[in-house]
Amino acid sequence: MLFGLNKKDTRFLIIVVLLTLFTPFLMQPFAETSPLAQFNGGYPDLMAKVAIFGIFAIGFNILFGLTGYLSFGHAAFLGVGSYAAVWMFKLLTLNVFPAVILAVIMSGLLALVIGWISLRRSGIYFSILTLAMAEMAYRLAYSVLTPITNGETGLQLRPHDPRVLDGPGAPQYPNLFGLELNDSYFLRLGDHVFTFNVGYYFCAAFAILAFYVSLRIFRSPFGLMLRAVKANQQRMNYTGLSPRPYTLAAFVISGMYAGLAGGLMAAMDPLAGAERMQWTVGGEVVIMTILGGAGTLMGPVLGAGTIKYLENIFSKINENVLHQWFAFLPDGLENMVVWLIAHFTGEGWALTLGLMFMLVVFFMPGGLVEGGRRIARLWRKRRHGGDGGADGDELHRPARSPHVAE
């Protein structure tokens, strides 16, 4: 019973912590000299992006996974978090803590306003309300709010920013009490090189915290209330409970998660662009959550990792790289194979993404987590060979609600 969690959850949390700590190894499986090194993702920016979008998706899942309210406007909170953080860097100090704290506060406030308005409606009407507000934020930030947001170019640091708390010798890059976030240490094991980046571990620490908080929420009476909203709002009304305060709280919490993600993005890379607020970014987090498995704890993180990995790694596999890989084939065949694969990599990376969405939703209803669970079950069944009786019996019982940790 560590951290107020039961044994199973504690084990789960420990696994997550270990996975996070060892990400620099896990995402870097291939030797530098191997032709597959192209698939290595263990560089600081991608690792941090996975952690950050993981936080974003975990937060989104608290709203969508538990209450069923589908917001298309969470990009606004991500953007506001980033802007708040960069302004903090410009005005106060390049230390990241004040920036991240302000990012969370500002996005929380915005979420309170938007949530208070949007939660008057439900279903698709709620989705459109949130979408409309985020899109308004994006368009204004890109144009008339340029004095605050620096518009198209994005808000960035300048040498002459006031930074009232920083002394003359202070670091010139976002830092953790002097330790700059883009510092890296390297570990070489034979041909493998692993990168340990300060910024990644900073984001990872928040990701673990975010995950822990979300785990506690899932297990709490508050979480139960939220599930009740999803299951049957009317029945909840009849018992004399108003769902509004609960859903609003969930909305604000998920908005603060998005703001945290935005603040961390700015800390890792001190530039806040208006595109962060576009509905496509809000749509991306929706897709991440659904792809991984809405309502599960690990799903959103998995979805975030998959999409970011595809976007960053697949888009860089150009024809030149493909020709190197398939150089062993006879010329004609090589060209044909390269021609075929080139449609799915490099500039065709989006096609792979789209196909993956369709395949997942067709063959793994419930997302990647559910798919993994099915495969595990299939495997178990095969191992116990002929133990069909129990499984057959299971069909006649109501489906067990799976442990969220799975």
Binding site: A31, E32, T33, A37, N40, Y43, P44, D45, L46, K49, R139, Y142, S143, V144, T146, G151, E152, T153, G154, Q156, L157, R158, P159, H160, Y173, E180, N182, D183, S184, Y185, F186, L187, R188, L189, G190, D191, V193, T195, D269, L271, G273, E275, R276, E311, N312, S315, K316, N318, N320, G346, E347, W349, A350
Partner: protein
Amino acid sequence: MSRSRFTRRGVLKSGAVAGAGVALPTIFTAGSASAFTNEPTGATVTFGFNVPQSGPYADEGMDELRAQQLAVEHINGEGDGGMLNTFKSALDGSGVLGKKVVYVTGDTQTKSDAARASAKSMIEKDGAIMINGGSSSGVAVAVQSLCQEAGIIFMAGLTHSNDTTGKDRKANGFRHFFNAYMSGAALAPVLAKAYGTDRRAYHLTADYNWGWTQEESIRAATEALGWETVETVRTPLSTTDFSSYIAPVLNSGADVLILNHYGGNMVNSINQAVQFGLRDKVVNGKNFEIVVPLYSELMAEGAGEAIKGVYGSMNWNWQLDNPGTKAFVKSFGEKYGRPPSNSAHTCYVQTLLYADAVARAGSFNPCAVVEALEDFEFDGMGNGPTLYRGADHQCFKDVLVMKGNENPTNQFDILEIVELTPRAQVEYAPDHPMFAGGDLGKCNSGA
């Protein structure tokens, strides 16, 4: 244990070959072995080509990428050598400083965030020594500041906003492309000659930084020649139907419509303006005219018939009559079956200029490269004698005034060159009000 700012995977890659078989784990930093970010120590050096491959400018990005690949071929001594035959360079066709050039590519998606993520992966993962390319000013400024922080060189692609070498200029960033001010300075006299000095202009402007700087530049240049600006209207970037902005133009008393639009905005706004019949009208006793200050071949192609007779400006065009242009058009055309666009030209030239600067400096160190590029005078790159000004890292060269061809003979000569505005006419002081507020800062080598 020591540390470094950005990874030097390029070093590690080559270092790993030498150190293969070392079983003991070692914690290290490349900083101890190298003097600057991604110092190449192996037999190759990696360039990063960051261009839009998805989104509205994907075709332009593809054209840039082709040109960059061609440049790498020429630097490595493959193909026919292109502009290396006309540009007096320190390159000898054996790569750069004895290292073969290899490249990685990435997708900017024409979004600052995606462009920076892509550039970061090139720097952190692939060990790129420079980044080249791009198709919008927002992306150029964002990637330029990233390269400044990382300590590598950024050679901008298509970016036309004054800010790139104005208030957002950076020591590690260089722009070969021209800018909005130059467009205005080149275009205004031609417009005055063609349409007279007594004209009333109505501006439709894309509502973001680039649009504003272009509107400001064109307005200043035309007003200096006696034109009057009747109205300037900002249009949202996401607009596809401009009818509600175009409809009031005729009744405003204006006799010229200036479209400060680019890409899809420009294609739709000019087509719709022509559909409104604006160009068939007579206002104030003069024929109504339309002007598109910034042209590109691909966008002109997209606009189709609507651009016939419409004036605009360009950085370069394949129809220019000089040896550099001819050499480049020949090698590009033979390889890809179409003449290069002006953004392809800029990316090609930028890649060669970078490689040449490294060769002249004798080092890949960004600070040495900056020194070699600053105030560098060159010729044979298709634009005539050109200066890379040290004060703001902006190239100065002749600017082309173009007109939509009334009788194109094939799909590629839809624009014709009207005038080659001499460089002297488009020059300005580094602290000109439209470019003020910037600070190059010091070059950063990442050490």
